[in-house]
């Protein structure tokens, strides 16, 4: 799933999470397919962002998964001997992999690694 500014929403995209106004009011539920009318209504109700299924938009400045993981590794360089922080780093990496590629992908990845 991907969170995108409402301006980049296009008909045909499917909401992965409910669309909520800044006031906290739910406008449409997860699974709703966006149409021109729905998008117009969301804009009118001042919704700023929506979360949609898949990864349909390449946002400016958005990093790819590989780059994100490389930078994660780099940030941990000074604490790489701390077992707790090492575990935290692994958890974050796995979390990002699942978020972008899904749980199955992570399981496959783990299998190929242990082999």
């Amino acid at each position: 799933m991907q969170r995108i500014p409402i301006k980049l929403a296009k008909p045909g995209m499917i909401l992965a999470k409910e669309a909520i106004t800044p006031e906290g009011q739910v406008l449409c539920g997860a699974g709703t397919e966006l149409s021109q009318e729905v998008i117009a209504r969301l804009i009118k109700q001042e919704v700023l962002t929506v979360t949609v299924e898949g990864h349909p938009v390449q946002l400016p400045g958005e990093k790819g998964l590989t780059e994100k993981l490389k930078e994660l590794d780099h940030r941990f360089v000074k604490v790489k001997n701390d077992p707790v922080l090492r575990a935290l780093k692994t958890l974050i990496a796995e979390f990002w992999v699942v978020q972008e590629k899904g749980e199955d992908f992570l399981q496959k990845l783990k299998k190929t690694k242990t082999r």
Partner: protein, 285 residues
Amino acid sequence: MNKEEIRQRLKDVQSLPTLPPIVSKLNQMVSDEDVTAVKLGRIIEKDQVLTSKLLKMVNSSFFGFPQRISTVSNAIVLLGFNVIKTLIVTSSIFEVMQSSDIGLFEHSLGCATAAGIVAKKLGIKNPEEVSTAGLIHDLGKIVLRAELPEEYEQVVETAREQDRYMREVEKEALGIGHGEIGGILARQWNLPERLVYPIEYHHNPEASPDYKEISAIIHFSDILIRALGFGFGGDKWVPPLDHNAWNRIKFGKKDMTHILEEVDEKLAELQDFTLDIHKDEGTES
């Protein structure tokens, strides 16, 4: 410049916006036991600019309140007076930071978000207070930057060139760390100790004379938010973890994953909040 000179300098900080006059009035009122949230709210609401800033902060996603808070007295009831007072005292500082150091601003909002989520997970009574401590934990950096811009620039530059923690360089060059500086200021502003100690000891939480658990939460939230690469806290390195502090709060894999999920979601919402700020700036100018 040594530690004493810096302390002196902080006594009359001139480069930061002065405290709103309303603060001393509120302080007086709070020491009066009969004062109610409604009364306090009424006083604050006389200042419309302050009120709108305050409501924007309390409704931003790092507090994570499901319903909209629409009046100041409601905010006081729901979040506690400590939180409201701190937000009032620091509101002008955050304005400075938003324009001068967006990276540190995001780091602070991120830490506030993480701290609130961790505090809730631990069942702490007033998680919003812990969030607020997270919000201002790097207060010392903001002061340094505003009051001693050249020295601050030098510290950041040296840390970058030598691939070191900013905190190390700062202690070496100034003889005092940003934690201690933040503590001095927070105390000067009469913030409660529950907030002063976590600010002062967020890099060495076990040295805190009190509120060690809150200090440990801020310590860890700072690490977590840097680990996630959200915002910029002065250098790019994940700081060392104090294991005694960790033992006070530690989470297993399952809880930690939940925390990550929640933090991730709130951080995305935070971007709405900062978008919102920029939008307002756009319409005002």
